[in-house]
Every structure is written in C-alpha cells, then in structure tokens.
C-alpha cells in the first residue's frame, strides 16, 4: 500500500494530481466509489482554498491502518496569513445570501474528522480524515493472508 504522498499546490492545475493521489489511495484502502468521489471533492476544496487565498502550499495524503478501521488522512498546509476567525471560516457559505456551503465548510461535511490549526502570520494546517470500518469477515481474511491489502 502507498505510504505518505506529498503534492505541492501552486496553481489550479495541481488539483488534478492531488485528487488522483487521494482517489488512488482511497481505492487501495477499500473505500466505496462514492466515498472515493467525496474524498476527491474534499481534496479539491481544500487545495482550491490554498490556491485562491494563499497561492502555494502542499497536501500530504496518507493511510492509517487500524485493526477495526482504515483511514485516509489529508493534511493541507500553507504559509499564508492565517485564518483570523476559524469559526466564521467554517460557517462561511451559509452566513451570507451568496454562500453555497462549499470551500472549507463543504470539505468538513464530506469527511469524518476535520480540524483547522491557524495562527495569524504563521499559516494554516487543515487535517481531515475519512474512515472506513472493517467488518469481522475482512479482518479474518486479512489474518489468513497474513498482511493488509
């Protein structure tokens, strides 16, 4: 299985490799096609956020393999001005008439865990995780094979 992958984000075009890496790992981890699509969409939104608001950053995409569940972790980092009001940033999209609930709030809704760490002048790190539960049958099969898929 793929280890951590880092995708630099410097322009709109970098959304494609970011999505591709996330989707490929999602497939390896056994996520459904629907969940793989949602993960790719969430990656698009956080990467777009970097492009639009900061100009450059990077995405780290990596698996988490637990006994009872597999996770896909995306860490989006930038060295921009930071988000002064995280709460408002996560609610933006619904606060005004023109909001659609996309961007960071949209990405948050598609993932299972979502955290933002941001300090004024020191950049922003968005960490989001999507989990897939592993049922007993899958775990037993894995034991018989002797290693994770």
């Amino acid at each position: 299985m793929s280890d951590e992958v880092t995708v630099p984000i410097t322009s709109d075009e970098d959304l494609v490799p970011a999505r591709a890496q996330a989707r490929a790992l999602a497939v390896q981890l056994g996520f459904s096609r629907t969940d793989a699509t949602l993960i790719a969409t969430a990656v698009s939104e956080v990467a777009r956020n970097i492009v639009v608001h900061v100009g450059r950053g990077e995405l780290q995409i990596k698996p988490v393999l637990n006994e009872d569940r597999y996770g896909l972790v995306v860490i989006a980092k930038d060295d921009g001005p930071g988000i002064p009001d995280i709460q408002t940033a996560l609610e933006r999209g619904w606060a005004s008439r023109g909001g659609l609930g996309l961007g960071l709030p949209g990405a948050r809704r598609l993932m299972d865990e979502f955290e933002i760490a941001s300090e004024s002048g020191k950049g922003t790190t968005v960490t989001m995780i999507k989990w897939r539960l592993r049922d007993e049958l899958e775990r037993l099969r894995e034991k018989r094979r002797g290693s994770p898929a």
Binding site: V16, P17, R33, T34, G93, G101, L102, G106, R109
Partner: protein, 278 residues
C-alpha cells in the same frame, strides 16, 4: 437558471462527458466536478443536471460499436455523474446542518418562552422558602436543558428575610458525582463579577489554569464553564447561575446568550418575589 443557460450547460456537459469517455482520467473527472460546482453556483436545478447527464449518455451510446461498448460507456458514466453531483452533496449536507440548527433554536426559544411565563406566574404566587427553592430548581433544570450542560448550580443570597438558596441539578449520576460542590464553585464568583456578569471558559482553560482547581474533578476531564450573575434592577447582586459542560465539551455563543436571558428572567422573578414579600 434560464432555459438558455440550461441548454448551454447541457452542451458543455456533453462535451466534457465525451472527452471523459475518450480519456477516462482524473483531469476529465475534475472537469465533471467543476461543471457541477459551476451549476450549483448558477443555481441549476438538480433535475436539469441529471437531464443533461442522461442526454449526454444517450447521445454517446447511440454511437456505441456494440452492446458491450454501450455497457462500458454506461459504467464509466456513473463516475462522471458522481463527480458532477459532489458539489450538490456538500450543499445538501450544509442544508441539513442548518435545518438541525434551526430546529434546535426553535426548541430552545420555545423552552425560554415557556419558562418566562412560568417564572412570571410563579414569582407572584410564592408563599415561602420552599416555593422559592422550587422556582430556583426549575430554573436550574431549564438551564441544563437549554445548554445541554452536565450540571447547573444556582445560588441566591439571603433575600428579604429568606434563607440563601443553593440548588444543583445534574444531567446524570456521573455528572452529580464529578461536579464540584457549591462551596468550591463559590470561588468563581470573583471571576463572574470581574467579567461584568458573564464569564465563559473552555474545557482547555479549565484544565490548564491553576486558579480554576475548584472547577476540576479528580475523576474525569473537565468541560467548559459558564457563570452568570443574577442582579436586581438597581444592580444589586441577587446570586449566581453556573453551568458545567460535559467532559471536553464547550459552551457556544448561543448557549451563553440563552443563559444570560434565563438569568435576567430569573433575576426579575426573584426581585418580584422578594418585593411581594416586603
């Protein structure tokens, strides 16, 4: 979106879909996602988007080499459609969040309205210490209900010849066992006074501030804390209302606003009750 715009969208969708069938890669899927995002922004109906997809698929399968080719196109089409709909999925989940929040606000507003009329009636019918304590207990219960708190403590000073009151209400047995007693919580009164009547701390602040030992339990992690002063119209202090959140949880701005409103109603009721006694 106008029918002209919907038709233009249909053409763009068909072009992108055709390109995807020729080269089913992430670039083409990203295009689908952007089309859906743009459609949402331009307020295209989901029905129009699904029609655009259906028309595009139909147009392509008409030129399929054979049955297998048509089936292959149809299978690929599912991923393209999913991408184009993903923006709508984000919006749908956002709508659910807003609807849940609105329902919660309506519920709380109904609770506050009901409590307001109850307190108004109760404060005029209080006949003694016991009924005053009952009213204070009702306030503590409603404060817990409104803010989903683990515990609520309401304390009043000795008013108009009546004894001071201290009533604690807890959401569950664990909350009761973990909650600090009234004496410990009285050490937070200077904090509340210094904060002009409303003080709010996060779970992290309660956990790490050495001065807030009174709010911590040795048995479980702390939650957030809210403290409000009860005051008469002339500004004199009548008592305090304090809330403790579940472990790790914090009180929101909305919680604080509702509790302030509750405190104001309680203060008015207490003042009416004591004025009536006089």
């Amino acid at each position: 979106m106008s029918s002209t715009a919907a038709r233009a969208f249909g053409r763009a969708y068909a072009t992108a879909f055709s390109a995807y069938l020729a080269e089913p890669d992430e670039t083409a899927l990203r295009t689908a996602y952007e089309l859906g995002r743009e459609a949402l922004r331009k307020e295209l109906s989901l029905l129009d988007l699904s029609t655009a997809h259906h028309e595009a698929l139909l147009a392509e399968t008409r030129h399929a080499a054979d049955h297998e080719d048509a089936e292959h196109m149809t299978r690929l089409a599912a991923d393209f459609l999913a991408e184009s709909l993903s923006a709508y999925e984000m919006a749908r989940r956002g709508f659910e969040e807003v609807a849940d929040a609105a329902a919660d606000e309506r519920r709380r507003a109904a609770l506050v309205r009901s409590l307001s009329s109850l307190l108004t009636d109760a404060s005029l019918a209080l006949h003694g210490q016991e009924s005053l304590e009952e009213m204070v207990r009702l306030v503590a219960e409603q404060a817990c209900e409104l803010s989903a708190a683990a515990s609520c403590l309401v304390t009043t000073h000795a008013l108009a010849g009546r004894r001071a009151i201290s009533v604690a209400v807890h959401a569950g047995e664990e909350d009761r066992n973990a909650a600090p007693d009234a004496r410990a919580l009285s050490r937070t009164h200077p904090l509340i006074r210094a904060a002009s009547g409303l003080a709010r701390l996060t779970a992290e602040e309660v956990r790490t501030d050495p001065a807030l030992g009174a709010l911590r339990s040795p048995d479980r992690p702390p939650g957030g804390w809210l403290g409000v002063r009860l005051t008469a119209l002339d500004g004199s202090e009548l008592g305090f209302l304090q809330l403790l959140a579940e472990p790790g949880a914090n009180f929101t701005e909305l919680d604080a606003a509702l509790v302030v409103q509750l405190a104001q109603m309680t203060s008015a009721a207490l003042e009416r009750a004591t004025h009536y006694v006089r």
